[in-house]
Every structure is written in C-alpha cells, then in structure tokens.
Subunit: 187 residues, 2 copies
C-alpha cells in the first residue's frame, strides 16, 4: 500500500477541514485519520496525540487570525484602529465560526499556544498605543476590549429576537470607544 505522505502540517490541514465541516466537537483523531485516508493509530507517527493536535491547530488558527487583525489595524490609530480591529474580529468569527472556538480563553499549558496568544495580544495592545494612556491603563483597556469582542463572538449566534446583530455590533463598538476615558478615570 502506498504511503500517504503525511507530516504534522498536513495532519493539521486535515484537522482544519474536519473542524470547518463539523465544528469543534467533530475534532477527533478518528475523523482526522479518515480525512487523511489513514488508520487512526498512524496519526501518532506525526502528532503525539489529541492534545498536541489541538495545540498545533490552535497555533495555526491564532496565527491566521493575528495576521488578519494585524492587516486591519496597519496604518490606523486611535478610534479608527479600534474600529478596524473590532470589525476584523467580527468578520473572522463570521467567516470561520468553528475555527474561532480554538482561540485561547484560558492559559494554555502548551508553550507554542502561549506564544501565539502573546503575538495576538500584541495586536490588541497596539490599538491603544495611539491613546494617551499609562502602561497600566493600556493593559486594562486591552483586557476590556478583548473581553467585549470575545463575548460578542461567543454569544453572537445565540441572540434571540429579530433585531439586527450588525446594529448591535455597532452599538458595541461605539460603547468601546469610551474605554479611553474609563481607563483614564478608573486607575
């Protein structure tokens, strides 16, 4: 029987296809192996197990997202950067709803994931460079921004009632422009 010619990157590619098609729940070694056209245990020749595959996938996704976010805020500052990041965020989540579930939410034991998360964080951080805030204030502002954008991303599909979610997002973004003032006064 011919070799499948796999490698870690190809396994992650297959995992991405599985996740895109079936959501985060569908990410199973059996499914990925099927997608690769290989028996399940064969995957262990390329990744150490499900946790490592998840970590590799997370790095891939975080970096993809970071690249888009970076492109969005390049050349902008202040409220314009904040808006650009917010819309890039929403766009990614809309375009890749299942992938977003792998964005880091708590501290990850995997150092690769932590590093990728830090790279992403630097982008959010950059938004507040244009404002006149102390270092501490920038940290708080970054956390608030992340929390709001993430919360919206998570709940987005769960909003009942007919009102336009795009309008809600605009309200959110407008609200967030108050971060600058709030960070200044609350610390």
């Amino acid at each position: 029987m011919p070799r499948a010619g796999l490698n870690p990157a190809a396994v992650v590619d297959a995992a991405l296809r599985v996740v895109d098609a079936g959501g985060p729940e569908a990410l199973t070694l059996a499914a990925v192996a099927g997608e690769c056209g290989v028996a399940t245990p064969s995957l262990y020749k390329h990744v150490a197990g499900l946790p490592e595959l998840r970590a590799l996938l997370a790095v891939r996704i975080i970096d993809e997202f970071t690249a888009e976010a970076t492109a969005a805020i390049l050349g902008r500052s202040g409220d314009a950067a904040l808006e650009a990041l917010a819309f890039a965020y929403r766009d990614y989540v809309t375009r890749r709803p299942h992938r977003y579930a792998f964005m880091p939410q708590r501290i990850d034991p995997d150092p690769g994931v932590t590093a990728a998360a830090d790279r992403f964080l630097a982008v959010v951080f950059a938004v507040f460079k244009g404002y006149d805030l102390t270092d501490d204030q920038v940290v708080h502002a970054t956390r608030v921004l992340r929390a709001a954008l993430h919360g919206f991303a998570v709940l987005r599909t769960g909003f009942q009632m007919g009102q336009d979610v795009d309008v809600t997002y605009r309200v959110l973004v407008e609200t967030l422009k108050a971060i600058r003032g709030a960070a200044g006064s609350a610390s």
Copy 2:
C-alpha cells in the same frame, strides 16, 4: 442491598458536587454515579442520559444565577442597576467558577434551558428599563452588556501580566455606562 433513594433532583445535586470539585470536564455519568453511590447505568432510571443531565444542571445553575442577579438589581435603576448587575455577575463567576461554564452561550435545544435562559435575560433587560431607550435600543444594549460581562467572565482567569483584575473590571463597568449613549446614537 438498600435503595439509594435517588431522584432527578438528587442526581443534579451530585452533578453539582462533581462539577464544583472537578470542573465542567469532570461531569461524567460515571463520576456522578460514584458520587451517588450507585452503578452508572442506574442513573438512567432518573435521567435520560448525559445530555439531559447537562440540561437539568444548566437550568439549576441559570436559575441560581438569575436569583442572585435579581436580588442585586432590585430597587435600583439606571447606572446603579448596571453596576449592581455587573458586580453580581463577577461575584458569581468568582464564587462558582465551574458552574458558570453551564450558562447558556448558544441556543439550546432543550426547552427547559431556553426558558431558564429567557428568565435570566429578563433580568439583564430590566437594567435598561430606567434608561430612555426605544425597545430596539434596549435589545441592543442588553446584548452588548451580556457580551461584555460574559467575555470578561470567560477570559478572567486567562489574563496574563500582574495588573489587578479588579481594576480592569472597574474600567469595564465604567466603559459600559456609555451603552446608553451608544445605543441612542447607533440606531
């Protein structure tokens, strides 16, 4: 052998203990059965399976949370109500970190969970009764508030760097007071 005297409520009680002790990941029929002092399949005499147990647990937790949130905003309105809800939210998450994971994030197929989620939503909704907003605007404001509070709750434990998370939360709450104006202008 003597009967264990179980019933659905007692099973949910055991499930709560399991979740409190080991986190949402630990919620397994085997663990709950162990906590009940019973063999795993015996649970099926009281709950239909893991999904139903999860749903029952979610209802229990959402209602517990709703009760606390309701108590917090009773007798307050406007910014005071918003603050009270925000702090009740944060307090619950801090006190019951594992339980919070069962709060509804997307539409749940279980009608009981949906009903409980609606009861909770009504509380958040009530915060904006005191503001001068149209019905549509209240819906958007409610969504924004939920998104921000939820996002913070989720990311709370993941914040790196030493800065005080309580200060961050104060910045968040201050920022959210701008919802009124944003909802008014953006729609």
